[in-house]
């Protein structure tokens, strides 16, 4: 990561209150929609949302899943997520502290999702994170993120080079297949945003 964990957490806690209003580009929305659609949880399934932020994906999946666990490093973001869950009367979602390489879950998870979060990790850290996710043994991992389809492109407006470190799709695909997943779908939302669907074979 380009800053320390604490610096990232603090930056997001400061952004939490306005985050949902600011984060609404068409690419972001399309990406979030595809992550939710590919996740497709069943009523008996437990979903883990890593880098849950204000809970956009977690709350969307809570309608269909049995249970949703949202994990993030930012207290501010988690507070905002809990507030939203209360507003919508969603009792099957739990938000707590957790990180990609240490998700802090002690129950089996069927699905892991993550949207617009893993790009804060370096490529080596992303690989470790994907291995940690594979160790949880979900039947599917849906990863939506800023990711380059045609080689690193610094011009993209969706990320900030000071704090972000997106990977190419190739790096993510290699890490996922090395961790034992099978890539069953790759959605090119735009040149710099994509969704990868990784299934347990």
């Amino acid at each position: 990561m380009k800053k320390t964990l604490e610096e990232h957490a603090e930056r997001f806690s400061n952004l939490a209150a306005e985050y949902d209003d600011e984060q609404s580009s068409p690419e972001y929305r399309a990406c979030a929609d595809l992550v939710v659609a590919h996740a497709d949880p069943g009523p008996d399934e437990t979903v883990l949302d890593l880098g849950t932020g204000t809970g956009a994906i977690a709350l969307a999946l809570a309608a269909d899943a049995g249970r949703v666990l949202g994990r993030d490093i930012s207290d501010g973001m988690l507070d905002e997520a809990r507030r939203k869950a209360d507003d919508r009367n969603r009792s099957n979602v739990a938000f707590g502290e957790g990180r990609f390489r240490d998700p802090n879950v002690d129950e089996p998870v069927d699905l892991v999702v993550s949207n617009f979060a893993m790009h804060h990790l370096s490529d080596a850290e992303k690989r470790e994170a994907i291995e940690a996710i594979a160790d949880l043994n979900p039947r599917r991992f849906v990863l939506g993120d800023v990711t380059f389809f045609d080689g690193k492109d610094v011009e993209s407006g969706v990320y900030d080079p000071e704090v972000d470190d997106p990977a190419t799709v190739g790096v993510l695909a290699d890490a996922l297949t090395d961790a034992g997943f099978v890539l069953t779908a790759v959605e090119r939302v735009s040149d710099g945003v994509g969704v990868l669907v990784a299934d347990r074979p």
């Binding site: 595809l34 659609a37 590919h38 069953t184 779908a185 090119r188």
Partner: protein, 230 residues
């Protein structure tokens, strides 16, 4: 290149959604192989790709198939008949009113030299369904790959016409041309062969539209220079 889709309520996504995602993936058009679906084709004329008015007839046997094909033929650009039994497969390849025989091997139905030859003679396209290769696993997938290989040998030997499709029932099942070619190559198909199969949907659609238009009188005959409108 086209993809042939199952739109709501036959599938989970609307024709408009399919059209939008297909455009993003680089397709020129989608064929809506409707059973219960009844899309508003006039509204879809504004879609980012060509949307073809088609029907996929699903019948229990040749008698029912014959009746249904006859009744839908005049109203739609493309008529597909779903195979899967020996009797239905034979009916399809023997009737040139049928444009495409879909899923010939799915239900345990067979395909053999006689059928391949009939398909070639009558211009009935045989569908190579990549759906099971993309969406199933284990034994069923291995079987599906084997059937595709058999079909390929027969179709190639008699130079029968064919189409390729992932048979998507949801926009999430759509795969772009490059991905279908890549999967096809892994399954033993040549890249250009797969692309030709994706283009063929558009070829049939264009031919049928021309035939059903007012300027077509019969093969080899054209409205033209000497006719004046009254």
């Amino acid at each position: 290149m086209y993809e042939a889709v199952h739109a709501h309520p036959d599938g989970e996504s609307t024709a408009a959604r399919f059209a939008r995602d297909a455009a993003r993936m680089g397709f020129e058009g989608v064929v809506v192989r409707a059973r219960g679906a009844d899309p508003d084709y006039e509204a879809l004329a504004a879609a980012p790709v060509d949307v073809v008015d088609a029907v996929e007839v699903v019948a229990s046997g040749p008698e029912q198939a014959s009746g249904t094909v006859g009744s839908v033929r005049p109203d739609h650009t493309l008529v597909c008949l779903r195979g899967g039994t020996d009797a239905l497969n034979r009916f399809a390849v023997e009737h040139e009113r049928v444009d495409v025989l879909t899923r010939p091997m799915a239900g345990g139905g067979g395909f053999n030299h006689v059928l391949a030859r009939s398909a070639a003679d009558n211009g009935v396209r045989v569908e190579f369904d990549f759906g099971p290769v993309l969406r199933s696993t284990g034994g069923p997938r291995v079987k599906a790959l084997g059937r595709l290989r058999t079909l390929r040998e027969l179709v190639a030997h008699y130079d029968a016409p064919y189409v390729v499709s992932a048979n998507p029932t949801s926009h999430l099942h759509l795969r772009g041309p490059r991905e279908l070619v890549a999967v096809g190559e892994e399954a033993g198909f040549a890249a250009e062969w797969v692309r030709a199969g994706l283009r063929e949907w558009g070829v049939v659609a264009e031919r049928n539209r021309e035939r059903q238009s007012e300027s077509f009188i019969g093969p080899g005959v054209e409205r033209g220079r000497y006719e004046k409108d009254p």
